[in-house]
């Protein structure tokens, strides 16, 4: 026990002695949490909208006015021709172009139907879908206006059936992205810091040559590993605490569930990451290699965690792959516990999987660590 104490002491001294690293460990993640959480929004607003009006009648102007009044569109310029508008779209000045053809009003009044052509920059497919939805909504409501103003619907005409749908958004009634993203980004930062630090730690001693010195001491394998990893576990928990406080104070993130449950889960989760870091350390010779591997896994874990893009949308094989992603479970648990107030029984599957993962990872790490080459 005393031996472990000493090695822990040594590790802490080494971490805190390196003045360059301290801000990277604590300030950088926190700055990122505070700033970047604001960036993560799928909301589509301030759409750059332009129109070409070949008709120039009161109806076409009324339609444009309708777009102008909408909160989603920034009505840009009136382009004289479709060619000009296309050029503006090429250069990225506009994202949606509406072309009102000649005889728009006449067709509407005489033939009771008129065409309207909408061109949308669809490189961002998801945003394009939303934009198209907004356009349809506005045109739909304009259609109603036209019906009201031009023709008097006789009272006794057959009424069409209508189904009224009432959307109700639970747990996040205002659809605030920050509520969703802050816990997730916090998870990422805790993971990245602990994985990078632990992955680099032992390999660094290897590279500098001090590992051999430790290996000739009478310290046991398990003592050495526990002593090495404990400080990072503390740093991970510390980071989570600071992050939660900031989330509460700055973003007013709801915390409905039990924080004890969250801490209990995190304690196990960090063990998975530390085991993984240790494993990487064991199989690499230089810090450079260790970092490349850690980076490889982190990018995959981040983008396949369901943090930014939903897991249900992935193809089946990819969903199976995500089962091996520890970040996925942490993201799920942190969102369930904080935002929905899920209890112990609700997160039990994630908890058990993470525990199993921790045992396997650390087992492999201890087994593959050799004092003698």
């Amino acid at each position: 026990m005393k031996t472990i104490g000493y090695i822990i002491q040594k590790e802490f001294k080494q971490i805190f002695r390196n003045k360059g690293m301290l801000p990277i460990i604590f300030i950088l993640p926190i700055l990122q949490l505070v700033i970047l959480s604001n960036a993560a929004t799928y909301e589509v607003k301030n759409i750059k909208f332009a129109y070409v009006d070949y008709d120039r009648t009161s109806t076409s102007r009324a339609l444009i006015e309708k777009f102008n009044a909408s909160a989603f569109f920034n009505v840009l310029t009136d382009f004289p021709s479709q060619e000009k508008a296309s050029a503006a779209m090429l250069s990225g000045e506009v994202d949606v172009v509406m072309e009102i053809p000649n005889h728009f009003e006449r067709n509407l009044l005489k033939k009771k139907t008129a065409d309207l052509s909408i061109t949308i920059n669809a490189i961002d497919g998801a945003a394009a879908g939303v934009e198209s939805g907004y356009v349809n909504q506005i045109v739909h409501s304009f259609n109603k206006d036209v019906k009201m103003s031009i023709m008097n619907i006789s009272k006794n005409a057959v009424q069409p059936v209508s189904i009224e749908s009432i959307p109700s958004f639970w747990y996040n009634t205002t659809l605030d992205y920050k509520t969703f993203m802050v816990p997730g980004i916090l998870v990422l930062l805790v993971t990245m810091i602990t994985l990078f630090l632990s992955g680099m730690n032992i390999v660094r001693e290897k590279e500098i040559g001090t590992l051999e010195q430790i290996n000739v001491t009478p310290i046991r394998k398990s003592q050495f590993i526990i002593g090495k990893l404990f400080p990072f576990w503390v740093i991970g928990i510390g980071l989570l605490t600071i992050g939660l406080i900031l989330a509460k104070v700055i973003f007013n993130t709801p915390m409905l569930g039990s924080l004890i449950l969250l801490y209990a889960y995190t304690s196990i989760y960090i063990l998975v990451i530390l085991g993984m870091g240790l494993l990487i350390s064991n199989y690499t010779d230089t810090q450079q290699q260790a970092m490349f591997i850690a980076w490889f896994f982190v990018v995959i874990f981040i983008l396949m965690s369901g943090l930014f893009t939903p897991i249900e949308s992935m193809p089946k094989w990819a969903q199976i792959v995500t089962n091996f992603n520890p970040i996925k479970y942490f993201v799920e648990v942190v969102r369930m516990v904080l935002l929905k107030g899920s209890g112990f029984m609700d997160v039990l599957p994630q908890l058990l999987k993470t525990l199993l993962y921790a045992i396997i990872m650390n087992g492999l790490a201890v087994w593959s660590y050799k004092k003698v080459n």
């Binding site: 929004t41 990225g92 309207l116 009432i166």
Partner: protein, 368 residues
């Protein structure tokens, strides 16, 4: 010059000797682009929903069948009480619950109006919003079928044309982003590490007392990485064209030149990091922790920049990746030439010069 070539050779030997790093260097980008190209999408598919049907009549059954027939939704659970909704959401699998009112059919026939409540788990606002929209579209469709007998008069029909990406594939959005991230991080990280490594191992002193000029040392360090990154970029472009069927509307040569420019920008950033960092550890932490999330989040790779708060839109301008993503999308998807992307190109050049200038100023040729 001969000395300089000898030095570059040494650098190549260093890299090629380390088989494992080399494998990671080439294998990783390929694995990542394949994985992400297929897996990352923000389209809605196969969402698990539950039904709470208080009427259980012909109309509700029709609607439920219509919804479960669509590829967007899978009906996973039939609930019987309002209280079950909470439990279903807390378990985390069910993302939406459709709540049909009592006497749905009767209301629809007698009063021409019936009500459905769409309850969504809005912890993920994007998914919640999309689910609501899709269900509404299905309901709309159902109403139209019912109303076919009644002629609806006066209609403006919007003909929507999705340009540059008619099938709305999210691959078109994500592949340029993944390519940028890989080039940026690999280039910046590799150079910063290789220079600090010499510092940490003490061999930098030997290089500094050699007759090579400091800038020759730095250029010699960077040249092999330009070479490696160009190969990486080429592989990624080939994969995106042949596997993900990304169109290449514009000029391949222009795309190549712009990629080289971006690689140089990233390498210059790496050099700058190495002049600040003393140990490999801090170099790596700066390039990984400092670059990864900002590049993912502020470059327009996943989240649209125009929707961000103004302050963040301004900050996004200093992220080189943002400009490169605009350039790649422009060349590959829109088929634009230099006339449309000269501004972005100039910005990248300016950033490169700035990074190099700053590193030259900070570069210490003497030991402390």
């Amino acid at each position: 010059m001969k000395r300089f070539i000898g030095f570059i050779k040494k650098e190549f030997y260093h890299i090629f000797r380390d088989r494992r790093s080399l494998f990671i260097l080439f294998g990783m980008p390929i694995a990542q682009i394949l994985l992400f190209g297929f897996a990352i999408t923000n389209e809605i598919n196969n969402v698990d929903i539950a039904i709470l049907d208080h009427s259980k009549d012909a109309s509700t059954e029709e609607i439920i069948n219509k919804i479960s027939a669509s590829k967007y939704f899978t009906v996973k659970q039939i609930l019987t009480r309002e209280a079950d909704i909470e439990t279903a959401f807390k378990k985390g699998k069910i993302k939406a619950v459709l709540n049909f009112e009592k006497h749905f059919s009767r209301n629809l026939i007698k009063q021409n109006q019936a009500t459905i409540q769409i309850i969504t788990d809005a912890t993920d606002p994007n998914t919640a919003n999309s689910i609501t929209n899709y269900i509404n579209a299905i309901l709309q469709n159902y109403q139209q079928e019912k109303n076919r007998a009644i002629v609806v008069e006066y209609q403006i029909i919007p003909q929507t044309r999705m340009v540059y990406n008619p099938e709305l594939k999210s691959v078109f959005m994500f592949v340029p982003g993944v390519m940028t991230i890989i080039l940026m991080l690999v280039s910046a990280m590799m150079t910063s590490i290789s220079i600090t490594r010499e510092k940490e191992l003490g061999t930098m002193e030997i290089l500094l007392v050699s007759p090579l000029k400091p800038f020759q040392v730095i250029i010699g360090k960077v040249v092999p990485y330009i070479f490696l990154s160009v190969i990486n970029a080429a592989v990624i472009v080939l994969l995106s064209i042949f596997i993900f069927k990304m169109p290449l509307q514009g000029s391949l040569i222009l795309l190549g030149l712009e990629s080289v420019l971006f690689i140089i920008t990233s390498l210059a950033l790496g050099i700058l990091i190495s002049t600040i960092a003393e140990t490999q550890q801090s170099a790596m932490m700066i390039s990984l922790m400092g670059l990864m999330l900002p590049v993912i989040l502020l470059s327009g790779f996943i989240f649209p920049i125009s929707s961000m708060p103004v302050a963040l839109q301004l900050i996004s301008n200093i992220i080189p990746a943002k400009w490169f993503i605009i350039i790649i999308k422009g060349i590959m998807l829109k088929g634009v030439g230099m006339a449309f992307i000269w501004k972005e190109t100039l910005i990248l050049m300016g950033m490169t010069l700035f990074f190099i200038g700053l590193s030259v100023k900070k570069y210490k040729i003497r030991l402390e």
